[in-house]
Symmetry: C2
Subunit: 141 residues, 2 copies
Amino acid sequence: MPATMKIYFAASIRGGRDDWASYLEIVRQLRDYGQVLTEHVGDAELSASGEGLDDRFIHDRDLGWLRTSDYLVAEVTTPSLGVGYEIGKATEWGKPVLCLYRPAEGRSLSAMISGSNRVTLKEYQSPTELPEIFEQFLQSK
Amino acid sequence: MPATMKIYFAASIRGGRDDWASYLEIVRQLRDYGQVLTEHVGDAELSASGEGLDDRFIHDRDLGWLRTSDYLVAEVTTPSLGVGYEIGKATEWGKPVLCLYRPAEGRSLSAMISGSNRVTLKEYQSPTELPEIFEQFLQSK
């Protein structure tokens, strides 16, 4: 594990902020492993209308961060075009990808995520289960 | 435009089927331009629980189709991880990508889509606007 490990954290913003409390906790835990490039994703103040910046700027900034990152960690419980897009890029670029998913009645994860052999998929119900998942994934790479 | 043009149509399946009537109409119109590799996406019988096939099989089949396609046409109104993933791959592979989006109050498109310079984004409200959009996009490539 590089000393200055860079982690790109992806989660739904404009697709809906129902799970923001989970995102905040994930960012908090990931900080123990390195620099989280996208800390704002866990920000309670960030609404589904987004950051209020130009979309081209956001796209190019985020893809730049993703390129320089060592890992992509994505929370995939709330369907999101942007998160899917970033997983598509990261798997293409050979980055290790960890997807976190909270299964629930009436919810079904995309086969593009669950069926990809370049994605490590971990299900959880509570943030208390995350330390073990992060320990395994981030230490093993 | 190649005589046997192959079009990959992407739209939300497990993310939600609210817009399936639009998808059906899009597939109907796209057939005038070539072979639609993913006709089942517009199927009224297809529910959000998906096709009932193994996820690895679906992933590899769909990515194989996407690789052989000449264009990706994606309906991006309903947020979807799979659609985002496919747009991420297609833009990486240099495929022309057309995204169709119906703006509405309280809805906001991902900056990863609206901010990408490899995506042609067209807004519409009614399927009657689609023929002109398809004519422009599919004839110009």
